[in-house]
Amino acid sequence: MTSGQRRLLGVATAALVVSLSAAACGGNAKPSGESTSAAAPAESGSAAAPAALSGEVKVDGSSTVAPLTQAASELFGEEQPQVKVPVGTSGTGGGFEKFCAGETDISDASRAIKDEEKAACEAKGIKFTELTVATDALTVVVPKENTWATCLTTDQLKKMWEPGAEGKVNSWKDIDAKFPDEPLKLYGPGTDSGTFDYFTDAINGEEGASRKDYSPSENDNDIVNGVKGAKGGLGYFGFTYFEENADTLTAVQVDSGKGCVAPSVETAQNGTYAPLSRPLFIYPSAAATKRPEVAAFLDFYVGNIGAIAKDAKFVPLNAEQEAKLKSDLQALKGLAG
């Protein structure tokens, strides 16, 4: 009994001691992977080789925008290894709460700041600018077996998702007489999500108004698996998730009265994928921008926005939006004084 325990203990201790010492030795010296990747962005142009900065740039907010800021944080780390950029995912609302309490320097957001959040920021004297850093195309997906729903009008989507559809619209036949009598199984993000807010606003005409008898999940993988598993399934989420699962899911084209448009990088960029293409934002605080490490991070983020978006598989901005982003950042620096 005791000898057996002792042996087990010995093995476990040895394993952990080895692993910990390996961790300690391997340490920070080695960045993950090689920095020779093609995506390593070019120097932002104007600035010469920057001096080594240190400090911390605190970012929190939307989990949709987080991968983009995280990619920026990683790439920035290759240039300024002493500056720490932790990126949290408290959600757009949770992020603004911390941002307006002065606890973070930059807030990620998948929707524009609300009036009450603005008021909270003003009460604390926190000035900020809204920067559009990428575009997202909310993608409506069906499984590959679904051969009938190649294009849906916004009215048909509303018929499916509006609060009044609850308990009544249960078959594809209820949406269009030409569709087969296949049970309709709906999957979508939970009510805390900015994606849910945007979709309900764009399709049902009121933010937060949705039928409740669908399968909600905060984890987009659950939506992917749910739709994949049901012939009559339908769900919606960000374009990145669709791209990762394009082999098993079909993206439905959306017709808002000007013909069917498939979600893609181009249609999201030029705005023809309406009304489901949306801008993604970051909100830097003007006071934080005075700190050199925050200014350097923002310069890097904005200066390499195209490469960062491509690397994180986001829909990049078009030339016009990119020019606006750069001038907005300059305006923010003016605000900071």
Binding site: R6, L9, T13, K30, G33, S63, P67, V87, G88, N221
Partner: protein, 296 residues
């Protein structure tokens, strides 16, 4: 070993009278054990199988990466978890053990306020951990202005495990036979000398086991850290108690919600590391118990 054989033969003797009931009871006991261990084994097999491709040295040598999931590691999470647990142990164990000594050896149990304290400690042990997260956010992070640092996390977790530490330490002190105390006092030792030289050393195994089980529970906590804003992507190890941090459960949570399959494998591998740390801590508990156990 000698002790084990005696009750066993006694059971066998008693069992001869009513063999059927004995059998049913024994099978019921055994199947309970099999169910509990079976699920644990299933979990282990499942997680190790899923995480196997990523159980390599890159896992603890590299920092997490959103861009290269195939070589991403969890070093910041491992170090964050170890920092939090070490600091929690430093704060919660002395406080909890001293509180237990007071309640067992000094407090007058006929007084209503001491009974109220006891009742409250038992209640606190059952409060959901997210509530401690809210407390930590409001009190420690915001009001005390400690921000979202290792210190805030460790203080919150200390509050979370404190009731469990107090309860288990009290049980350990209670288990010390009164004859030891009486003998010590009879030989002229003061109450302080009795507690310091007799009661506490005799209670060490029980207190150590309870404390380490309490800390093991704390290791797996994600909910309070979600409230405290432990950032999900942290590419540096904590450098001190005022540093930003992340912990393994938070990292696992964020990996699982990523779209790329590589992150799910990484999450499984991170779970294996978390289980390994837990196993190590529990092994230490068993070792301490065996090393210091006394029989009277």
């Amino acid at each position: 070993m000698a002790i084990l054989t005696t009750p066993k033969s006694a059971v066998q003797l008693a069992g001869q009278g009513r063999p059927l009931r004995e059998h049913v009871f024994r099978i019921a006991l055994l199947s309970s054990l099999v169910i509990a261990l079976g699920f644990l084994a299933l979990l282990l097999v499942y997680v190790v199988q899923d995480g196997w491709p990523r159980l390599d040295s890159a896992l603890w040598e590299n920092q997490p990466s959103i861009r290269r999931p195939e070589t991403a590691g969890i070093q910041s999470g491992i170090f964050g978890t170890l920092w939090i647990i070490a600091l929690t142990a430093l704060m919660a164990l002395p406080t909890g053990i001293l509180a237990a000594v007071y309640l067992e050896e000094y407090a007058d149990k006929t007084k209503w306020y001491n009974r109220l304290i006891e009742l409250n400690i038992s209640n606190l042990a059952a409060v959901p951990s997210i509530v401690y997260g809210i407390l930590g956010l409001g009190l420690i992070a915001r009001w005390m202005q400690f921000g979202f640092t290792v210190m805030t996390g460790a203080m919150t977790i200390s509050l979370l495990v404190l009731p469990i530490v107090i309860i288990s330490a009290r049980e350990a002190i209670k288990a010390v036979p009164p004859s030891i105390r009486e003998g010590s006092l009879a030989l002229g030792a003061t109450q302080w000398q009795t507690i310091w030289r007799q009661v506490l050393p005799a209670a060490v195994p029980g207190m150590a086991t309870g404390s380490i089980l309490a800390l093991s529970r704390a290791i797996g906590e994600a909910a309070p850290f979600l409230m405290l804003g432990a950032a999900t992507l942290v590419r540096f190890n904590p450098e001190g108690v005022w540093s930003s941090f992340t912990v393994l459960p938070i990292q696992i949570y964020s990996f699982i919600s990523q779209s790329r399959e590589e992150f799910h494998v990484l999450a499984a591998a991170a779970i294996v590391i978390l289980l390994a740390i837990l196993l190590l801590m529990n092994s230490v508990a068993i070792w301490l118990r065996n090393r210091y156990q006394k029989r009277w």
